[in-house]
């Protein structure tokens, strides 16, 4: 239950930070920032989905986390890590060929890692782990 509350608190903090950043006028509204904002919302949405799922299990008298959910997380994490190595190689390759600043590239790389993780989690969840 503590982890579920923590997930909701962190999600809320991220959303509040994003809203404050937007309200302070730091967002120019270009395509790059829109994509970044969408990725942040995707990741927060994913965390909220997991939180609601855990909460529902808890209320239904089930355990919030079991061997399947841990295996899905472990498998998705290892797959995302593996893909991220190639992602950062790609970012390094692109860095020489773009006018983007280093911090923008690093931000894009981190955001892409988050997207890769969400996609890996969905893939593992959809296709199962029959081979294990």
């Amino acid at each position: 239950m503590k982890r579920t509350v923590l997930m909701f608190v962190i999600s809320a903090l991220v959303l509040v930070s994003l809203a404050l950043w937007a309200l302070k006028g730091h967002i120019a509204g270009n395509a790059q920032e829109m994509i970044m904002g969408a990725i942040v919302l995707l990741v927060v949405g994913f965390a909220v989905y997991l939180g609601i799922s855990r909460l529902r299990s808890h209320r239904g008298g089930e355990t919030a986390e079991d061997e399947l959910s841990k295996t899905v997380m472990r498998r998705a994490s290892s797959l995302a890590y593996y893909i991220s190595i190639y992602l950062w190689l790609f970012v390094m390759y692109v860095s020489d060929k773009t006018t983007l600043e280093a911090h923008s590239l690093v931000g894009a790389g981190i955001a892409a890692m988050a997207v890769v993780f969400v996609l890996c989690w969905l893939g593992v969840k959809l296709f199962g782990m029959k081979s294990e």
Binding site: G60, E62, T63, D66, E67, L68, F127, G128
Partner: protein, 72 residues
Amino acid sequence: MNNRIKELRAKEDLSQLGLAQLVGVRRETIVFLEKGRYNPSLRLAHDIARHFRLPIEQVFLFEDDAVPTQGM
């Protein structure tokens, strides 16, 4: 690996949630097991087989052993 969880559960008129609660997992795990999308740990396989009062090899069937073996 196939399994007879759905069949055994139906015999006992036990819901997926009921079995999940009895063996300490989420209902989703039972769904995954019944659809053959997840192979359980030895501990979970043991707990499920013990619930149905059957040896593991009569609940979980390997492809080359599709017919359940008789008793232990």
